[in-house]
Amino acid sequence: MPDEPYNPSPVGNPSVLARRNWWQTMLVKFIGKHTPKCREMIRILSKSMDEPMPLMMRIKKRLHFLICCWCLRYEEQLRYMRQTARKFPEHADEASDAEFSSEARERIKRKLEESAR
């Protein structure tokens, strides 16, 4: 099946460019054709959290974001998850009700005292 051009409805589409007039329609189709599709873009965005993205891909990403607010949000949300995940360990007592038994507590205190001698 040949690739259909990217031709999304502007209704309910908050992207910067969204077929609101003839020029926008041409630009949206051009950018849609020459940048990775969203499914591929989110894979690239995830990889860029682990290693630097090449310059050409960074440019394509910026162009793609003009026509796709969802991929832009996806990238923001990857950063959001990283920022919160890094803080999770310090808030682990709020995240769970698992009981740290008094036996374990006392055993560890005894070990600490023994190591002090």
Binding site: P89, D93, F100, K111, L112
Partner: protein, 196 residues
């Protein structure tokens, strides 16, 4: 005691023991292993107290030591566990995309509010994050938590768990997709509904 007083170390157990234990349990899932890791953390903290220097809070310092202990635990385990099994890796949320590969508009990522600084003070958020993490398959969860919670560089994660770069990227991508979806559905969408 080498570098700190016994009563100080004992206070640490009362003040931070529960938090460290619960984090260790989220990571290793077995209570006896989690307790051992917490014990090793406190013993290492006592030995290295002089290096602490008060640059961060006591809790972040202890959490930092625990993270290293957890990484060591998985390093030992990595030699025994095969990470080649690509369980869970076939699902790509295909229903969210039109056949050509762009997002279906109604199904793309929603806006996330509030900002991370605010959400970090909400107990319910951390509970949802824990539940979402627990839904990830074991191996994917280990890779994701080591990379994103412990902040281990990706090359090191590959070496600790004996996996290739490309496997790591695939696993992280699937983990991020699944976690994003779960957090959106169970936290951000609900919070937005409550406000309206």
């Amino acid at each position: 005691m080498n570098s700190t007083e016994p009563h100080t170390a004992s206070n640490w157990v009362d003040e931070h023991g529960e938090c460290l234990y619960r984090y260790a349990l989220v990571r290793v899932r077995k209570p006896e292993i989690a307790e051992d890791l917490v014990q090793e953390t406190f013993l290492a903290a006592v030995r290295g107290y002089e290096k602490f220097g008060g640059r961060s809070t006591e809790r972040s310092w202890l959490v930092g030591i625990l993270k290293n202990k957890i990484v060591d635990h998985f390093r030992k385990l990595g030699r025994e566990t095969s990470f080649t099994d690509m369980e869970f890796l076939s699902d790509e949320f295909s229903e969210k995309f039109v056949p050509v590969g762009f997002w279906k508009h109604g199904l793309g990522p929603h806006e996330w509010k509030p900002e991370p600084d605010e959400v970090m003070h909400r107990r319910e958020f951390w509970q949802v994050m824990r539940d979402c993490l627990s839904m990830l398959p074991e191996k994917i969860r280990v890779v994701f938590t080591m990379r994103e919670m412990d902040g281990v560089p990706s090359k090191e994660v590959c070496s600790i768990l004996s996996i290739s770069d490309s496997n790591l990227w695939v696993m992280l991508h699937r983990a991020r997709m699944a976690l994003r979806e779960c957090l959106e559905m169970n936290w951000f969408d609900k919070t937005a509904e409550e406000k309206t």
